[in-house]
């Protein structure tokens, strides 16, 4: 079992960052390589640019704690847990933490690499929202 954690300071309010993440169907906008997704209850199925379909179970989507937790439900993984936390650092700045725990270890590295790219996109979108607010 391996864990990887990436974090990024974002010049946007915690609510603005959380607004990017909290809608489960918005993931194609911010996770590189996700072409589209479907959502039925807590089950989300991603269609990836490789043509792979990746089913996920959403475990937590808590707007009060600003915490999103999900599990990849694929036979390739013996275990997977992904979590995104948004923490207010100041009225204008947030910390977004994207953690991955997985087994086999190698798959943790692969997913973790994707989450690093996702943080870049989350920051880009949230900072656009913040810029629009400030005018």
């Amino acid at each position: 079992m391996a864990s990887l954690r990436y974090e990024r300071r974002i010049h946007a309010t915690a609510d603005e960052v959380w607004g990017v993440i909290t809608e489960p169907e918005s993931i194609p906008e911010w996770f590189p390589g996700v072409v589209s997704c479907t959502l039925e209850g807590t089950r989300r199925v991603l269609t990836l640019a490789t043509g792979i379909e990746m089913p996920e179970e959403i475990l937590v989507n808590d707007s009060i704690q600003r915490r999103f937790v999900y599990r990849i439900d694929s036979p390739l993984y013996r275990f997977h847990l992904g979590s995104i936390d948004v923490i207010a650092l100041s009225p204008e700045e947030s910390l977004c933490v994207y953690s991955t725990t997985a087994e086999p270890d190698t798959l943790c590295l692969l997913i973790g690499g994707g989450t690093a790219g996702a943080l870049v996109e989350i920051a880009r979108i949230a900072e656009c929202v913040a810029a629009a607010r400030v005018g």
């Binding site: 194609p28 390589g33 640019a49 043509g51 190698t106 692969l110 690093a116």
Partner: protein, 534 residues
């Protein structure tokens, strides 16, 4: 051939750049190899320039291939180890040629971006599923246009799984052939240690796939198909990139008759007794012996669950037989492509450059695969340049050390283009006199890796007389270790002179060359992020 105005100067040509993956210098007949028959490459060498000492910038795929494309060392282009993508805006010789009006294609193995990318966030892994993004039909994320300067891309790698074009083709067209291939990775997504063949050698399997469905022939077929779409007056640059003879060694069973492993001699640098092997390894930096004993796996490219000390002489023979068969298939595939070019009447204007990205240990020092082991097995490469006959080239053999970092500059010179400022390599010399006059005295090979808690840094410089390596501080070295081999007295690199006081002057001079390399002028890309093991 297009000629410029009244001068008659060649302003453009056709360039066939052929690469293999993990092929040693001594596997080619023209270089003295006897196990494989390589008449096509031997013929190109007779007509053109054969290089005796070609070194890679790195002994693993991604950094080395990125150097071929960019003409830069890994510490400049930023793809510093396997699993680190070359930046999307990195320089590309293909882009320069595209801008000159060349049709540009890369067919086969690219690997500027990590293979292990289930999301397809890197273009190489998405192209087969999504097609080439165009202005009319951009990708879902808005991307459009050529990728790294290539306007045609069809990819293959070592297996039949994954999202690349060859894998998708054989999965769709010939699913019955899939079980014949060796599974490159195991259930933990580590390089597979499972043995096969007659001897139980790792990454060996007899493959029931018909030869015409194997990736070597597929790469040649797809190259021919692309060539058939070009017109006579179109200049082109085609990178035909064979995934073999990189492991797994699973060539078609129909070709088994070519080389009987029982008759394969052991490599000159394979110490037959364990005592001799261990004594040789103990002279080198400590990670050599640690890996041999199975106490450390220094890098992802060797199977995590395989212990080199368990390798038998027969396993070495069988691996080398399989490798030789794959080399022969490549030679024949190249012959088919060249025959098509000749049939079109283009041969007079065709430059052919053949090389590989790095070598393979293949039994040397009792080891297999590759890693931070800077010796000839991994660092001495085949390189042949057959200039276009219309330029009346003089056949020669260049003994001076040259590097793959020179390839991009060479392609641009063939095209008659000025050298861009981002190139770090000079055009390949065409003779020893040319090499001397232009100062080809030394080449540098870099290694940096940091994966799963193991960190290794090596810098090596090769001259006509010496191979010298310095190890940076990592998890296995404290920064004081090194290796020094006298290539004249010790061509097999068995006697490490690093701590010999009588060699202090040579060591200091070579160390100064490495310092100069580290401090060379020029802008460096930010080192990329490690996002996959390969």
């Amino acid at each position: 051939m297009r000629r410029g105005g009244e001068s008659g100067v060649v302003v453009g040509r056709k360039i066939l750049f052929i690469t293999t993956d993990q092929q040693r210098y001594d596997t080619v007949g023209a270089n003295g190899g006897t196990l494989s028959r390589t008449p096509v490459l031997d013929g190109l060498a007779r007509e053109g320039i054969r290089y005796e000492r070609c070194q890679p910038t790195s002994v693993v795929c991604m950094p080395s291939r990125a150097s071929m494309l960019t003409g830069q060392y890994p510490s400049t282009h930023g793809a510093w180890m396997n699993g680190v993508a070359l930046a999307p805006d990195a320089p590309s010789v293909a882009e320069s040629l595209h801008d000159l009006g060349y049709a540009t294609a890369l067919i086969g193995k690219a690997h500027f971006e990590p293979f292990m990318d289930p999301f397809g966030r890197f273009a190489e892994n998405a192209l087969a599923s999504l097609g080439v993004p165009t202005l009319e039909a951009p990708w879902f994320d808005g991307r459009q246009g050529v990728h790294r300067g290539f306007d045609f891309l069809e990819f293959a790698t070592h297996g039949v799984m994954g999202p690349l074009h060859y894998a998708k083709w054989i999965q769709r067209a010939h699913p019955e052939a899939l079980p014949g291939f060796y599974s490159v990775v195991d259930g933990d997504f580590n390089v597979n240690a499972a043995g096969g063949g007659d001897t139980g050698a790792p990454q060996v399997k007899w493959n029931d796939v018909p030869r015409e469905w194997y990736h070597t022939d597929w790469v040649a077929d797809r190259t021919i198909a692309w060539l058939d779409e070009q017109t006579d007056d179109q200049d082109w640059f085609c990178w035909m990139s064979f995934p073999d003879p990189h492991h797994p060694w699973d060539p078609p069973s129909s070709e088994r008759h070519r080389v009987d492993w029982r008759e394969v001699p052991l490599p000159e640098n394979y110490p037959t007794s364990a005592t001799e092997r261990e004594a040789l390894l103990d002279q080198k930096a400590r990670h050599w012996r640690l890996w041999y004993d199975g106490r450390v796996v220094s890098n992802y490219e060797a199977p995590k669950k395989w212990v080199p000390a368990t390798m038998t002489a027969d396993q070495v023979r069988e691996v080398n037989a399989m490798n030789a068969i794959e080399v022969e298939l490549i030679d024949e595939a190249i012959g088919r492509v060249l025959a098509r070019v000749a049939a079109k009447g283009w041969d007079e204007d065709l430059d052919v450059i053949f090389t590989s990205d790095h070598g393979e240990l293949q039994g040397d020092f009792g080891l297999l695969f590759k890693g931070p082991y800077h010796v000839d097995a991994l660092m001495r490469l085949p390189l042949i340049w057959r200039p276009a006959p219309s330029t009346s080239p003089v056949a020669s053999v260049v003994h001076a050390p040259v590097s793959l970092v020179s390839l991009a500059a060479t392609f641009l010179e063939v095209a008659g283009a000025a050298a861009p400022s981002w190139l770090e390599g000079a055009t390949l010399p065409v003779s020893d006199d040319d090499a001397i006059s232009r100062g080809f005295e030394a080449t540098v090979t870099e290694w940096d890796s940091a994966l799963f808690g193991v960190e290794v840094h090596v810098r090596s410089v090769l001259t006509s007389d010496y191979l010298y390596s310095e190890y940076g501080a990592g998890t296995m070295h404290d920064g004081s270790e090194g290796e020094l081999y006298n290539l004249v007295d010790d061509p097999l690199q068995r006697v490490n002179l690093f701590n010999d006081p009588e060699r202090a002057a040579e060591r200091a001079a070579l160390s100064e060359r490495l310092r100069a390399h580290a401090e060379r002028p020029g802008e460096r890309a930010t080192p990329g992020l490690l996002v996959a093991p390969v």
